[in-house]
Amino acid sequence: MSELARLRVEQAGPLALLQDAGRFGVRRLGVTQGGPADPHAWAWANRLAGNSWGAAVLEITLGGLTLVAERDAWLALAGADLGATLDGEPLTPWRRFRLGAGQRLAFAMPRVGLRAYLAVPGGFHAEAELGSLACVVREGLGGHRGEGRALAAGDALAFRAAGQPSGPEEAPPAVRPDYAAEPRLALIPGAQIAAFRGSSLFAAFHHPWRVDARADRMGVRLTGPKLECAIDSLVSEGIGLGAVQVPPDGQPIVLLNDRQTIGGYPRLGSLTPLACARLAQCQPGQRLWLRPQGREAAHNDFVRWRREFD
């Protein structure tokens, strides 16, 4: 039997949250799904730690976090390069590494990307709430101590200290996105698309967009050409992950993991889950493009990606 190990939080940074795959089956109660904003990097962190799909991982936004190991442990890091160091030595993401007792793992500031994922073999331990550990601050649900709390200095993260995990030690270069490049995000057109002016639709897919500073786990606002829609608002209805809603100011908002469960703005369509993952790594000011994708092609891309982690 392996023993319980702990990572002590010396400094918490702006936002570090435990995330498993998300909270499902309770959206009818107004409870959002949570889960990793970038499931691609999250899934790779788990894989490099030898975990199957769904183990709880630490999502570190922007950096500023310092952790100290209470005993020797294997860890895995994927996603953004937040200038991580191990006792002062640079540590690049997309690999597994050993953290010795008393060693200090520190995240500085984003170099490329926005969110890093830190996994341990077996996943971090915490009490599930409504079937999930996913930490949603707005709802006061999930996380390492329950009640939707982000990591704070003095906290500790518990997990089972295990031997060297099996599986790849490093993610192949082909699966590591180039976060500095301008992404082309796939959008499945939605029901109200015909209500947008033709010139707005042309602009949506032929002009660049910029990620606004108003961006969080609920949604990301894009700035660019003003999209004009014949519909101002709808009777509130359920909204899925990646829904691109367009309020009357014509600037779209992409709804992410912590979005409200219902809403009433017309929608251009939905970003695919993989496009949402890529968007979650875009810093404010990042230029990007939207591209339409058919539902079937998006389904096939998603299933091919997801099967990698079975």
Partner: protein, 243 residues
């Protein structure tokens, strides 16, 4: 219920690669509930383990499925079959659970009582009477866990949202906006008109079912005095100045 029989003209709208939005009606109506609840039951039976989430709302049902178990085409075929055979839940309104929320109506916790009273010659008691006499139905949950949007508000209590939303609405606040009423499960920002406060826990993650109110429930409000409100566990802290 004196509603004429409503028949949906359902449309399936794409909601991303793992969802279909079933639009059953165009207008908000209590009679929609019998159809929406029937469709929820059919989805639970038909989709089995492929069903991820159902999000009912006033005129629609969002059906989220697991793309590893089913593609969009298959989900669409199943939904169309279900819709072709769909019948409204019989005796829906009569059989829906009736839940009663005690409310302490007081200006210290319901600062818009006075504003609403303008329609009753300034008589706050008449506002309370109107709010407690009506029976409401839960049309949707959203905004926050356990936040139930209830229809059936008397026209005399109709009021627009506040021009500037409050940053902190206390938990339990009972409110109206447009032709709806609701109670805030937790402290949150909000722009509805506050009439009073309920001591009931509207959302409790440790309780079976979690949410006190679910879509389809019938709801009544019952006026209680300050002592009863406190006895039932209510927090009588007055609204902050300028909150």
């Amino acid at each position: 219920m004196s509603h004429p029989v409503r028949h949906p003209v359902p449309r399936l709208e794409s909601a991303g690669l793992d969802g279909w939005l079933v639009r059953l009606f165009d207008d908000i109506d209590e009679a929609n509930l019998a159809w929406i609840e029937a469709l929820m039951g059919a989805c639970e039976e038909n989709f089995g383990a492929a069903l991820i989430d159902l999000v009912p709302s006033y005129t629609t049902l969002l059906v989220c499925f697991d793309p590893l178990r089913m593609d969009g085409g298959e989900a669409r075929r199943r939904l169309l079959t279900q819709l072709a055979e769909l019948r409204p839940r019989e005796g829906d309104a009569e059989s829906a659970p009736l839940k009663t929320l005690p409310v302490w109506y007081d200006e210290s916790v319901g600062p818009e009582l006075k504003r609403l009273a303008a329609g009753f010659a300034g008589d706050i008691a008449a506002v309370i009477h109107a709010h407690t006499q009506a029976e409401y139905r839960v049309f949707a949950l959203g905004f926050a866990p356990g936040f139930a949007f209830m229809g059936g508000l008397p026209a005399s209590l109709e009021a627009p949202r506040l021009a500037t939303p409050r940053r902190r609405v206390p938990a339990g606040s009972v409110a109206v906006a447009g032709r709806q009423t609701a109670a805030y499960p937790t402290v949150s920002p909000g722009g509805w008109n506050l009439l009073g406060r309920t001591p009931m826990a509207l959302f409790d993650r440790h309780r079976q079912g979690h949410s006190l109110l679910v879509v389809g429930d019938r709801v009544r409000f019952e006026a209680v005095d300050r002592e009863t409100f406190i006895e039932l566990g209510g927090d009588p802290t007055p609204m902050e100045e300028g909150a």
